[in-house]
C-alpha cells in the first residue's frame, strides 16, 4: 500500500492533534516512511470539533490531504457524523466506544471500539485518552510499528509524563490486540 490515509476526529481537549502528530512522527522518523500531517481546528485554542489527518507513504507526498481515509479514529459523535461518510469502503473505523455510536457505516467497513475515556480515567488522567487511542490504533491498523510508536510517544509528551503516557499507550495496544483476536 503506497499511500495510506488516516483521519482522526474529536473535540478539543481530547488530544486529536497530538495523536496525529505521533502517528506521523512514528512513521516518518522512526519507520523511515514519508508522512504528512495536517489539522483542522475550531476557534483558535478552544474546545470545539477538530480533526487531524495523516498520510503515510513510501513515496514523496505531493497532494497533502486525505480524501478517502483508509483508517479513521473517531472520538466524538459529532466528528463521527461529520467525517465517517468519507471513509474508504474497505477501510477500518476505530471509535471511542462510550462516546460514539457507529451507525450507518457500509458493511464493508471494519469497526473496532474501545472505552478509551474510561481506561484513561482509570489510569488517573482523563487527558491520556489520546494515548490509549494511539496504542489502539497501532495495534489494529499496523501502519506504524509498536516500537516506532512508543518512541514517538516518549518524544512528544511533556518530560516527566512519559511513563503515564506509555502506560496508556500499552493499555490501548493490548485492547487492540484483544479485539483483533476476538
Amino acid at each position: 500500500m503506497s499511500r495510506t490515509e488516516i483521519k482522526i476526529g474529536g473535540f478539543g481537549g481530547q488530544g486529536v492533534i497530538l495523536t496525529g502528530f505521533i502517528i506521523g512522527k512514528a512513521a516518518s522518523i522512526f519507520d523511515m516512511k514519508n508522512a504528512t500531517m495536517t489539522q483542522a481546528f475550531g476557534p483558535e485554542a478552544r474546545g470545539s470539533a477538530c480533526s487531524s489527518q495523516v498520510i503515510v507513504s513510501e513515496d514523496k507526498i505531493r497532494y497533502p490531504y486525505v480524501k478517502r481515509p483508509n483508517v479513521m479514529v473517531m472520538m466524538s459523535q459529532e466528528a463521527f457524523n461529520k467525517f465517517s461518510p468519507q471513509i474508504d469502503p474497505h477501510g477500518i473505523m476505530l471509535i471511542e466506544e462510550e462516546l460514539v455510536d457507529p451507525a450507518g457505516l457500509p458493511d464493508t467497513v471494519t469497526v473496532y471500539s474501545i472505552p478509551a475515556t474510561r481506561i484513561a480515567e482509570e489510569l488517573g488522567k482523563k487527558i491520556v485518552l489520546n494515548m490509549v487511542m494511539t496504542g489502539f490504533f497501532t495495534a489494529v491498523s499496523r501502519i506504524i510499528s509498536r516500537e516506532a510508536a512508543r518512541k514517538a510517544v516518549a518524544d512528544s509528551v511533556p518530560p516527566g509524563s512519559e511513563n503515564l503516557n506509555l502506560n496508556a499507550f500499552e493499555k490501548g495496544y493490548e485492547w487492540g490486540l484483544k479485539q483483533l483476536e476476538g
Binding site: 481537549g13 476557534p43 483558535e44 485554542a45 478552544r46 474546545g47 470545539s48 462510550e98 462516546l99 455510536d101
Partner: protein
C-alpha cells in the same frame, strides 16, 4: 450500558429542563448560541452571568445597552449577550465604543474584553478614553495571558508566570491595572475575582449607573492554559485559591495593589470620583462659545 444509554436514563431521572422552563437569563443571553466556545471550568462564563444579573437589576432598558468586545476568549462575550453587540478588531473595542456612544448618547455602552486586548494592543485607547472621561464601562476579564491564541505572556502576566512565550518564566513586570486606570483618569475603578459573584454584580451596577469612564477588573481562571502551565489545577482549584488569597480593601491606594504570581490579591472598589464626562464638557463649552448656534448634543 454505554454512556449514551446511561444518559438517556439519566435524563429521565434528573431534574432537567422541561419544555416550559427557560433559563432565567434567556432575555440577556443568546441561548441559541449555547454551548459557547469556552473551555470547561473557564471563568469567563461566570462573569457573563454576573453581567446579566447586573443588567437585570439595574433599570436600564436592554434595548439601550450595547456591548463591544475586541478579540480573544473574553472577546467572544459580545457574541453571547442578547443586546446589540459588536465583536470588533483586536484591541479596538474602546475606540469603536467611543464612536458608538458619541453617535448615540442614549446608548449605555459596555466594553467587555480581555487583558491582552485591552492593555497590550489596546492600551493606548484605554488611556485616552479614560482621560476624556468618555461614558463607558470597561470590564476586563484578566486571566493573566493571551488565552485565545494558546497562552502567550501578557502585560498582566505576573512575573514568574510560565507561558508559551515565557517558557523560562516571565521576567517582565506586569501592569498594576487599577493604578494605571487611576493615573489616566478613570472615575470608578474596582477589582474582583470570578468567585466574588455578588460583589462583581454590585460593582457592575454601580459602574453602569455612573456617568463617565468606569473600569472593573475581574481575575478569572483560565484552566486550559494559565492554570495548567503554572500548575494551579483547574478552575475550581483556582476559585479556592482566590478564596484563600484575596483581601477586600475598599479604597486601597491603587499604587499598592499589584499582583504577584502566588501573592495575596487585593480586591475592592478603589476609586470613585466625580468629574464631567466628555459629552457634558463638550456641551458646556460649545454652548458657552456658540450660544444659540449650538444645540445641546443628544445624538
Amino acid at each position: 450500558m454505554s454512556v449514551i444509554d446511561e444518559l438517556q436514563q439519566a435524563v429521565k431521572n434528573s431534574p432537567r429542563q422541561s419544555p416550559g422552563d427557560e433559563h432565567p437569563m434567556s432575555n440577556f443571553l443568546r441561548m441559541d448560541r449555547i454551548p459557547h466556545i469556552w473551555c470547561p471550568t473557564c471563568g469567563i462564563g461566570t462573569t457573563v452571568n454576573c453581567f446579566a444579573q447586573a443588567l437585570e437589576r439595574c433599570s436600564i432598558p436592554l434595548d439601550d445597552v450595547a456591548v463591544v468586545s475586541g478579540i480573544g476568549c473574553t472577546g467572544r462575550v459580545a457574541g453571547y449577550v442578547k443586546t446589540d453587540s459588536f465583536h470588533t478588531t483586536h484591541g479596538r473595542a474602546i475606540p469603536f465604543a467611543t464612536g458608538l456612544r458619541l453617535g448615540n448618547p442614549k446608548l449605555k455602552v459596555v466594553v467587555f474584553s480581555g487583558d491582552g486586548d485591552l492593555f497590550s494592543i489596546g492600551g493606548n485607547h484605554f488611556n485616552h478614553a479614560a482621560r476624556r472621561n468618555l461614558d463607558m464601562t470597561v470590564i476586563c476579564v484578566n486571566n493573566f495571558n493571551y488565552a485565545m491564541t494558546g497562552g502567550q505572556v501578557a502585560p498582566t502576566s505576573p512575573t514568574d508566570s510560565v507561558l508559551t512565550t515565557s517558557p523560562y518564566g516571565n521576567f517582565e513586570t506586569p501592569f498594576n491595572l487599577p493604578f494605571l486606570a487611576e493615573s489616566v483618569g478613570a472615575t470608578f475603578v474596582a477589582r474582583w475575582t470570578a468567585l466574588h459573584i455578588h460583589r462583581v454584580t454590585e460593582s457592575m451596577i454601580k459602574a453602569l449607573m455612573k456617568p463617565g469612564f468606569s473600569f472593573i477588573e475581574i481575575i478569572a481562571p483560565c484552566p486550559t492554559i494559565f492554570e495548567r502551565k503554572n500548575k494551579f489545577g483547574d478552575g475550581l482549584d483556582r476559585l479556592k485559591f482566590y478564596h484563600d488569597n484575596s483581601e477586600i480593601i475598599h479604597g486601597a491606594p491603587t499604587k499598592d495593589v499589584d499582583i504577584g504570581l502566588r501573592n495575596k490579591i487585593i480586591v475592592g472598589e478603589f476609586v470613585d470620583i466625580e468629574r464631567p464626562t466628555f459629552i457634558e464638557s463638550m456641551n458646556a463649552y460649545l454652548k458657552r462659545r456658540l450660544g444659540s448656534d449650538y444645540d445641546i448634543y443628544e445624538g
